[in-house]
Symmetry: C2
């Protein structure tokens, strides 16, 4: 528990450091590194590291996607996406009889979605660049993932009676899940109030739409839990306990960011259509 | 062979009929039907029809994608894509232990790519709507698929000596492949000349970039052959001979359109960047 908390503190410090470079390509690079690590952990979990061609293809995909909106890469977007996709079929044909199509499909699915979902952090940064909204929305995504986890853990420990899906995640209870959603929503509303007040103090006319926040946060929270369950279902099928030990006490990228991986696209999709935080120009 | 030719004639007639409605939503509907049939054939090949939830999800995906650029569906694009994607993870969790993650990933991959690749026909129609280019580019994609097949078949039959990938497709030879590419390129250049002449005759100042056509057609042809090989690799892994018998003598949608499925995105991607046919406004 001590190691866990210490690593947690380091993780928060790294996050703060990353925030300082939010508006530079360094942020893309961090997302790129996290995506690459995530995909690598998954390939290792699926015992596919020996198939070098598949590793090279999926890793390059993980490294390209976070930059897909930057400069030259964007202009060449469609041909790159098509070329990468066709390469998967080349590997299907080439490895036919050695690697099952299902495993190559899994690599395609996860090497596309893990970097794409993480890249939603970059998209949020890009679409609301230069004002307070990008930071708030990123916070919202991280919060929806981690606050739900935390809430579910404590409520589940004290009040958990009814198991949810014991075959995948033996400790999860319905009480914990409900507690996680409620805790996450409550704290998020408080963070919203704090942010609004803080921005006003800094001379920025900001308004949080609390009604939207009240209805959307539970959805973000559920998305995060789905990420958590998916990560567990994969671990269960491949018979591993953790995806890695990069962050002692927290496991690998996919252990720590499993829920955030799903809250990021959920938050990004929502804020493309709905203005949770509006910042008025003076 | 007789049934095959007869069905072929019917197929060409249907194609001509479809061309008459090229600029209406009926064309989207045809692509939608073809995508749906393709995905259905694949689910049947993978013996997944008993998993109703997976069938419903993948079929709805196949039916939505060809309309993704039309009206309301386009405006709600991102949430629809995200919701459908998250549903796959729900099914992964729900069916954990019963259906392998690899099989669900395969369904995700093919139910995304088959409709998306077919929809490139809609995108070509949309992007070059109302002038001669849309028809020419669609023709190019169909030609690259079917002319390569035909060329490879005849050249392979007469001159085929060296087997290419006997484990997947025992009849394919390197001679046939080379013959297919050359035949396809030659006929495509002739079609280009004919189209140019025909358009001039109709009073439209059109110009075909023969150099582009000469360098790109072999690539389209190779893409088509990759489609063919992929379809064979899947059939081989799941131990089936044909995807269906919808078109007697030609098999199912995936048997007849396996190469076209890959030439469509290749042609679409190319013509987004390079102007193979230019039509000058008078």
């Amino acid at each position: 528990m001590r190691v866990r908390i210490l690593t947690g503190i380091v993780l928060v410090l790294v996050l703060v450091a990353v925030c300082l470079f939010l508006d530079t390509l360094l942020f893309n690079a961090v997302i790129c590194a996290v995506s690459g690590l995530g995909v690598f952990e998954l390939l290792r979990a699926m015992k596919l590291l020996e198939f070098k061609d598949l590793v090279v293809l999926s890793m390059s995909q993980a490294l390209i996607i976070p930059f897909m909106r930057a400069g030259y890469v964007e202009r060449l977007g469609a041909p790159i996406v098509l070329a990468v996709t066709l390469c998967y079929f080349v590997l299907m044909v080439k490895n036919s009889g050695r690697v099952e199509i299902g495993r190559i499909s899994s690599v395609f699915m996860f090497s596309t979605l893990i970097p794409l979902f993480f890249s939603c952090a970059v998209y949020i940064r890009d679409d609301f660049s230069g004002d307070a909204r990008s930071g708030f929305y990123l916070f919202l995504a991280l919060g929806a993932g981690w606050l739900s986890d935390t809430g579910a853990y404590f409520v589940g420990t004290f009040f958990g009676r009814h198991k949810m899906i014991p075959s995948i995640s033996p400790k999860k209870t319905w009480e914990g899940t409900a507690g996680g959603i409620i805790f996450c929503t409550a704290v998020t509303l408080l963070i919203g109030m704090g942010t609004e007040r803080w921005l006003w103090g800094a001379g920025i006319s900001a308004r949080v739409d609390y009604r939207l926040l009240f209805f959307l946060t539970p959805l973000f929270s559920v998305a995060g839990m789905l990420g958590d369950l998916t990560a567990s279902a994969i671990k269960r099928e491949f018979g591993i306990k953790d995806y890695g030990n990069l962050m002692p006490g927290h496991g690998g990228v996919l252990d720590r960011f499993d829920s955030v991986l799903f809250t990021l696209p959920a938050v990004y999709t929502a804020v493309r259509y709905l203005e949770i935080l509006s910042v008025m120009a003076d």
